[in-house]
């Protein structure tokens, strides 16, 4: 939409009557591929922080159970799957007690699916901002993803409790956890921001998304181990960037060896998706205010 040319003097808020030699902002019709303008996003980092805080505060206002919802969702899902798959179907779980196994997968999956749902709907939900003020639009879906991290942390507390209960020790592999969380967040950001931009134009997304997320739950080794999948289908499974990450979470919680190949594929796919999404977002962003 517009190009920011910043010189140090120009950023000074109170330069008085002394105008910068070059314009601070040039507004022109955009052509070609648009730059990502990471510097501008950095300038607005406080807004990211405040919008994230807003999303968190607002989410549990006027709810009875408040932050307990962060635990209820993965816990209830875990109990259901434990009953049907663990008990009745006797699903293998790589020698980990099935409830713990399932919860360890559902924990990051819940974060991921909530993050893409919330960020996917975030632009449409902030119409009043988009049509009234300028700021880098990417901040809106990014704040939705970031707000989900708190829920993740709360739900992680329960995992620690479960590990004590089942007497599963913590190994050095846990050091990989922050890396995994960063990649899951970036993947969620990429997918979420792309969906949010599409959602501005095509409201079909709102209906398709819950269904796709449900499919994702079964297309990712969350309630079953990847080892259960026949070797010839493994490759198909690892094209799903969440596969390597979910397996990685289990390795970091339970101390089993990491599948570096699978993790590498996930990391590479995350980066590709993120960049693709960011550039498409920039392209679609130009017409948000006109069509939202």
């Amino acid at each position: 939409m517009s190009e920011i040319i910043t010189s140090q003097a120009a950023i000074e808020p109170h330069s008085g009557h002394l105008l910068p030699a070059r314009p601070l902002v040039v507004i022109e019709p955009s052509r070609g591929r648009l730059p990502l303008r990471m510097r501008e996003i950095w300038q607005y980092r406080d807004l990211l922080y405040i919008l994230t805080a807003r999303d968190i505060k607002v989410r549990y206002k006027q709810t009875l159970l408040g932050a307990a919802w962060a635990i209820i969702q993965p816990l209830a899902t875990m109990l259901i799957f434990t009953l049907f798959f663990g008990r009745l179907a006797g699903m293998p779980s790589d020698n980990i007690p099935y409830p713990l196994f399932a919860y360890a997968g559902l924990l990051p999956w819940t974060f991921f699916s909530n993050a893409i749902t919330n960020s996917g709907n975030s632009l449409v939900g902030n119409t009043n901002l988009i049509t009234k003020v300028y700021f880098p639009r990417m901040i809106i879906p990014a704040a939705s993803v970031a707000a989900g991290l708190l829920d993740f942390a709360i739900a992680f507390g329960l995992l620690v409790g479960l590990m004590f209960y089942y007497r599963v020790g913590i190994s050095v592999n846990i050091l990989m956890l922050p890396v995994l969380v960063v990649f899951t967040s970036l993947l969620a950001l990429g997918v979420g921001m792309w969906i949010s931009a599409l959602n501005v134009k095509y409201r079909d997304i709102r209906y398709a998304l819950p269904f796709l997320i449900q499919l994702g739950l079964f297309a990712t080794p969350i309630i079953y181990p990847a080892s259960m999948v026949p070797q010839k289908w493994r490759f198909l499974l690892s094209i799903n960037p969440m596969t390597g990450l979910i397996e990685g979470y289990r390795s970091s919680f339970f101390g089993s060896p990491f599948d570096w190949l699978s993790l590498g594929i996930s990391a590479a796919l995350t980066v590709v998706i993120l960049f693709y999404a960011a550039y498409s977002f920039r392209r679609m962003e130009r017409t948000f205010a006109d069509i939202i």
Partner: protein, 419 residues
């Protein structure tokens, strides 16, 4: 001196119908994508006529410290211009160069979240307007002071009165201290006391060498606050000179008629009984394209098709002001002998002068039969503005009060002392 805002050949094209159907479904897009090549083969006309220019060939420069008013009827392109300047939407042609930080107040309270407290909203709104957190913290007391909401800082804003809400919102934006401040119609709402304060703050901002773009329907405020004013019509600048001159031109020329609506025969609203052909609000003995002044007699006129033979038809108008206050319920019984035949009728009413205050009004029209049965009701038929043409010794605030009757006053001498 160099300009702080430079606008060159700016244009913005919209697709008609985009507003009515703002988002499409995937299916429509797929269908359209499939159709496009087929239409092209058929040699279908390129859809050039479903586009219109909301702005075209706009050129102007603003010097630092200038206060420029922007006036024009609704739909003249003011909002589009502001949206481009504040980077909400992208221009189709042309170029704008800004040599300073810009803050726009397109709608007071943008980005407020009802569930959050006043304190939280100050930070949220400040950040949305581009302030850093430390900057907001530094100005926090000033903002709270200006808004006069100390006791309610930790109350969610959904429990605020609309006045408090407004004060807080304006306070945040006005204390942002940008080099360029864009203000759109903030003065249309809020009580007189607060409006005074806002205008004072704007003057303050201007005196400190900041540049202000002020969009308003309040001609007196524009005349008093701005040295210069631009007038837009059909997306083009038709006047750019001293505020006085532009305002006079706008008021006298009556730039376009927005207070008349005509419907094509096959689009006439109504039902089998009654259909409305035309509605108009204008000053008595004035052509319909002239602006309404507070001192005019106002004519309400409606042309309708009556399809009910031999009945008593009545027309009533409900007049509301811009804050939704019901100002008046006026109307006429078109016949009382039960003999009004079918055909096209025109009902005209004349409203006495000096009653309506200078504001924006809207009205609904209702047709009835035999003073009991409602035949047809139409909400928000038309919006019209009543303008003030009196300068009251530099008091340029909107005149307070719902009505402003012209009274006759007299002061008589009674005695030297009270006995």
């Amino acid at each position: 001196m160099k300009p702080i805002i430079k606008v060159e050949n700016l244009g913005k094209q919209y697709q008609i119908g985009l507003k009515a159907e703002p988002y499409s479904t995937l299916r429509e897009s797929l269908v359209n994508a499939a159709r496009r090549p087929i239409d092209a083969l058929r040699g279908a006309k390129k859809n050039g006529n479903d586009r219109f220019w909301a702005l075209k060939d706009i050129n102007f420069e603003v010097m630092p410290g200038e206060v420029v008013g922007i006036i024009g009827r609704n739909g003249a392109g003011k909002s589009t211009l502001l949206k481009i300047l504040s980077r909400i939407t992208e221009p189709t042609t042309g170029r704008v160069e800004l040599f300073g930080r810009i803050a726009s107040l397109l709608e007071v309270g943008t980005g407020f979240h009802a569930e959050l407290t006043g304190r939280e909203n100050i930070f949220l709104n400040g950040a949305i307007l581009g302030m850093r957190r430390q900057e907001i913290a530094r100005k926090f007391d000033e903002i709270v002071d200006f808004a006069e909401i100390e006791e309610f800082l930790d109350t969610p804003v959904k429990r605020y009165s609309s006045g408090m809400y407004m004060r807080l919102a304006f306070a945040v934006a006005a204390n942002l201290d940008p080099e360029i401040l864009i203000i759109d119609e903030v003065l249309a709402v809020g009580d007189a006391e607060f409006q005074k304060k806002c205008l004072g703050k704007m003057k303050d901002v201007a005196e400190r060498g900041r540049t202000v773009l002020f969009v308003s329907h309040n001609m007196i405020a524009v005349k008093n606050l701005c040295e210069r004013a631009l007038c837009l019509q059909h997306g083009q600048v038709i006047s750019d000179s001293k505020a006085e001159e532009t305002v006079d031109k706008y008021l006298q020329a009556g730039i376009e008629s927005a207070s008349e609506r005509n419907w094509a025969i096959d689009e006439m609203p109504g039902n089998n009984n009654i259909r409305v052909r035309r509605v108009s609000v204008h000053g008595l003995n004035k052509p319909p394209d002239q602006l309404l002044l507070a001192t005019d007699r106002i004519v309400f006129e409606i042309d309708f098709q009556n399809n009910l033979d031999k009945s008593d038809i009545d027309v009533t108008w409900d007049l509301l002001d811009n804050q939704g206050t019901h100002i008046a319920h006026i109307g006429a019984v078109c016949s009382s002998d039960g003999k009004l035949g079918t055909g096209l009728y025109r009902t005209t009413g004349v409203f006495p002068p000096g009653i309506l205050n200078s504001r924006r009004y809207s009205f609904s029209v209702q047709f009835g039969r035999n003073r009991r049965e409602v035949l047809f009701r139409m909400e928000d038929v038309l919006v019209f503005d009543v303008h003030d043409n009196l300068d009251r010794d530099g008091n340029f605030n909107e005149f307070p009060g719902v009505i402003r009757p012209v009274c006759t006053w007299d002061t008589a001498f009674l005695s030297e002392r009270i006995t």
